[in-house]
């Protein structure tokens, strides 16, 4: 659960991008479209870790920093304002070695998590990867289905 002390941070503007790593095991195939689909499971943590783009930029960093040493992940983004529309608190939670770490706090029902997922935009890669490419990457990394 979110800690009671968490408060929304207005310094993170509604237009701020929040980056979220998604593990390859959380990318599934949408049989309706044949395309990849990020599982809503990637958005169900009560305290959902993200990296705040504005803080990365202040330090001369960008989205590529988020995937350093994370071969089994891809990167998506959502806007802080969109998260707030779903009764989520957005705040900074600096960590050692990562001052851009933030949290999207609040209960994620199935509907909320699906909505957050639908709002996500692919960052790395910049467009939704082919599902076959995801499968091949899982094999390469020793993560077969």
């Amino acid at each position: 659960m979110c800690e009671i002390s968490r408060q929304d941070d207005p310094a993170i503007g509604n237009g701020s991008r929040l980056f979220r790593r998604v593990h390859l095991r959380q990318i599934v195939r949408d049989e309706n479209t044949g395309m990849t689909l990020i599982s809503s499971a990637a958005f169900k943590d009560h305290e959902l870790s993200v990296d705040v783009e504005s803080i990365l930029l202040e330090r001369g960093l960008d989205e590529r920093r988020c995937l350093e040493n994370h071969n089994a992940h891809r990167l998506v983004s959502m806007l802080a304002g969109e998260c707030r529309q779903f009764e989520q608190i957005v705040c900074i939670d600096p960590e050692e070695g990562n001052p851009a770490h933030g949290l999207v706090c609040g209960r994620k029902t199935g509907r909320n998590a699906r909505s957050l997922r639908d709002l996500c935009v692919w960052v790395i890669p910049p467009v939704a990867p082919d599902y076959q490419a995801i499968q091949e990457e899982k094999q390469r990394l020793g993560l077969p289905d």
């Binding site: 809503s40 029902t109 699906r114 289905d145």
Partner: protein
């Protein structure tokens, strides 16, 4: 050998009508699907898990032939059980065998025999999510570490959305049939 065994949400009593049983034991160190062998009145999937535990899933012989979804689903469950701590890079917990067993039990009780295997997706809290995205519908069942199992359904054509418990809902069974 067996120093630990447990029953899972919705197991023994609730499922006694179909004699579905799941248990975990502490045993060897590998993580290999042993399963599929037949007994006199049932067949048994035994999965050795990381950390020396064994998940045993006993399925009644009435499910013959074995539904096609069982083998890929059990294999996918084993794969996520192998994930290390911090697998999601955000402090994600290792997937809990009892939650996976609970998920498999609900599937065995509810799945239409001709429905395709679900995607098996890990949750950061050690839980598991099963999901289908087909026939212009989305169905997700979440087995979280700190909440009872919940399903979420959406029809992409009508935009109808439903949420509820898969354990006690005839509506849930109907949603599964609609996916087949």
């Amino acid at each position: 050998m067996a120093t630990f065994a447990t029953q899972f949400p919705g197991s023994a009593a609730a499922l006694s009508d179909r004699d579905v049983v799941a248990q975990t034991y502490w045993v060897g160190q590998s993580s290999t699907v042993i399963g599929g062998s037949r007994g006199s009145s049932n067949r048994e999937f035994a999965v050795e898990l990381p950390g020396g535990r064994r998940l045993v899933l006993t399925i009644p012989f009435e499910l013959d032939p074995m539904p096609a979804w069982i083998s890929p689903t059990v294999n996918a469950c084993v794969r996520i059980l192998e994930l290390p701590a911090n697998w999601d890079s955000y402090g994600g917990k290792r997937i809990r065998a009892e939650l996976v067993a609970g998920a498999l039990l609900i599937l065995i009780r509810s799945m239409p025999i001709d429905l395709t295997a679900p995607s098996v997706v890990p949750l950061g809290d050690g839980g598991v999510q099963l999901e289908w995205h087909r026939r212009q519908q989305d169905l997700e069942i979440t087995f979280s570490a700190d909440e009872s199992p919940q399903y979420y359904y959406r029809n992409r054509i009508t935009d109808e959305e439903l949420e509820g418990s898969p354990s006690s809902s005839s509506e849930f069974a109907q949603l599964l049939r609609n996916l087949a």
